[in-house]
């Protein structure tokens, strides 16, 4: 397997609380990896270790390595903004920045490519809005405040904003949990389209969504990985008792 993200012996503590214990797992390039498990099992913690979001909380302690293409993102001297540019995040709640629709998509480009001229920027913004499936809904009102969009549209806008800085990896932290069923379907559809080009890692607590999306599954329980493997194998022939119980809806 060609591992895009390789986690070795990762431990995470929030204060004195161990959130992740001895996590080692490889996440394959391209395709969708779904991290699932009951709430509080460390899914989101594992996800946010990939783009170094854990350190936003200053009581967090981290040990171990998370290598993207073989390079540990926690190594000394690594530029955290470069990590986050490569590893994009689609948050649980859609969060439009308090600026226009256009500026939301242009936001990261203005930071990483400050010399991009206006017309090039406009072309890029249109491109990523198209990729996110939002262009036709907003083409006539790019200067309108992004907060005026519906929640579902805002999540696609967030997708466009994330893609616009050209990441290799898309993280999704329960990206449809705040959305209505139709908007959720939209986002899932987009993620399925994008998996050809991006390594995608999605946290979900809904088994149905995991089954719809996953090529590869990581099942977690109480801060540890119980079982990980190709979706087909894990869903039809789980090896661990805990996995069987979870899939059967015991907890």
């Amino acid at each position: 397997m060609d591992a895009h993200i390789s986690v070795q012996n990762l431990h995470v503590w929030y204060g004195n609380l161990a959130a992740l214990t001895a996590i080692s797992v490889d996440i394959p390039r391209h395709g969708i990896t779904v991290i699932m498990g009951p709430s509080g099992c460390g899914k989101t913690t594992l996800l946010k270790s990939f783009n170094r979001f854990l350190e936003l909380n200053d009581t967090t302690r981290i040990s171990g390595t998370v290598a993207v293409d073989g390079h540990d993102v926690y190594a000394p001297g690594v530029d955290v903004t470069a990590v986050r540019k490569r590893v994009g995040l689609l948050a649980q709640r859609p969060t439009a920045l308090p600026m226009s629709i256009f500026e939301n998509v242009a936001y990261g480009m203005r930071i990483h490519q400050p010399h991009l001229d206006k017309s090039a920027l406009a072309i890029q913004v249109q491109h990523y809005l198209e990729v996110a499936g939002l262009w036709h809904e907003v083409a006539q009102r790019l200067d309108a405040p992004a907060t005026a969009l519906s929640i579902g549209q805002q999540q696609r806008l967030c997708l466009a904003r994330g893609l616009a800085v050209e990441p290799e990896i898309i993280l999704g932290d329960e990206p449809t949990s705040a959305l209505d069923p139709i908007s959720s379907r939209h986002i899932e559809q987009k993620l399925l389209e994008l998996k050809q080009r991006y390594t995608t890692v999605i946290v979900t607590h809904t088994l149905r969504q995991a089954k719809r999306l996953a090529d590869y599954v990581i099942f977690m329980y109480l801060g540890e990985i119980v079982e990980a493997g190709p979706a087909q194998q894990l869903f039809t022939n789980p090896q661990q008792e805990r996995t069987k119980e979870y899939l059967a809806g015991v907890f």
Binding site: T81, R84, A91, H112
Partner: protein, 320 residues
């Protein structure tokens, strides 16, 4: 006796339900009445000031009082312009000096500081806000005035004295600048506290949305947070200005109190609150003197009231 009946009967209220409800009604009625007292007091203060200021407003046109430049009560001249400009100068200098460091400090404690650092710095800033103004006044007298006199006048006025703003027209350190520095130190904790509170109402999702695309903290602050909280920053400045505008004793001790329109940072000033504090009660029986001072009090009340109203209206949209 079910399993939920675990209390003994010893401490139970044995009064009938109607007595308990009557007690509740009385508590509600009286707490409501007491709550209205501040409003009533404000009303009485305003009415009293209007009534007592009325004679001078009938004698002279308001324009002549506000823009008159000669203050000689014994000669019947009540020009307030020197005091109004004195107040505006001192307040403006105080606000201009206070705002940039206040914004940066609020940003530091809210956005950059570790939790532990914040837990140390924040209470210290809150204590600064609680220091009695007279203490700042004494500090101004002992430290700021000599500093202005021996360092800033030779330094700034020596280098930039050709500009009217920095001209040195009198030999002491009692000046607009000394007043402004003291005020800046006094209102900084207030402005920091307000901006800090506003930064705390900003959803973390917003910060993370920016950081997630690889923005630095400063880019997040500059491009997302500051534009978002700009109305709140303005409200914080208005509150600081309102506090500075009405501040009496600390300013009075360091500005020299000469009723002359200032034209330079190093001129003396005589702000409106100082005018009242220095003279009320020692007006002899000069006609209209009392009315003139109470008109000044009315002006202060109205201006501070309006400033605070504006700030509150802006801040309301940040309440979560």
């Amino acid at each position: 006796m079910g399993i939920f009946e675990i209390r003994s009967d010893a401490g139970r209220d044995t009064r009938p339900a109607s007595a308990r409800h009557r007690q509740d009604a009385i508590a509600q009625r009286w707490s409501l009445r007491i709550t209205f007292i501040p409003l009533i007091v404000l009303g009485f203060v305003a009415i009293a000031l209007i009534v007592r200021a009325w004679p001078i407003l009938q004698t002279y046109p308001l324009i002549a009082l506000l823009f008159g430049t000669v203050w000689k009560p014994s000669a019947g001249q009540f020009g307030l312009w020197p005091f109004i400009t004195g107040t505006l100068w001192v307040t403006s200098v105080g606000v201009i000096l206070a705002v940039p460091p206040s914004i940066l400090t609020a940003i530091y404690i809210s956005e950059y500081a570790q939790t532990r650092t914040r837990l140390i710095i924040k209470p210290i800033l809150d204590v600064l806000a609680a220091i009695p103004p007279v203490v700042y006044g004494v500090w101004g007298l002992l430290a700021v005035v000599p500093f202005v006199e021996s360092v800033l006048v030779p330094g700034l006025s020596g280098a930039l004295g050709f500009l009217p703003l920095f001209a040195s027209n009198q030999p002491t350190g009692f000046s607009v600048l000394a007043g402004g520095i003291v005020l800046a130190v006094m209102i900084t904790p207030l402005i920091i506290a307000v901006i800090y509170e506003i930064l705390h109402t900003v959803p973390n999702d917003l910060r993370q949305a920016s950081l997630a695309v690889g923005a630095t903290r400063w880019e997040t602050i500059w491009r997302v947070l500051l534009p978002y909280i700009m109305p709140g920053i303005i409200a914080a400045i208005v509150l600081g200005a309102s506090r500075a505008f009405g501040e009496t004793i600390a300013v009075l001790m360091v500005v020299g109190n000469v009723p002359k329109v200032p034209t330079s940072l190093f001129d003396t000033a005589y702000p409106l609150p100082a005018l009242i504090a220095n003279n009320y009660g020692e007006m002899m029986s000069i006609p209209l003197y009392d009315a003139a001072l109470l008109m000044v009090a009315l002006v202060l009340l109205v201006v501070v009231f309006i400033f605070n109203l504006i700030a509150m209206m802006i801040l309301r949209r940040f309440v979560r």
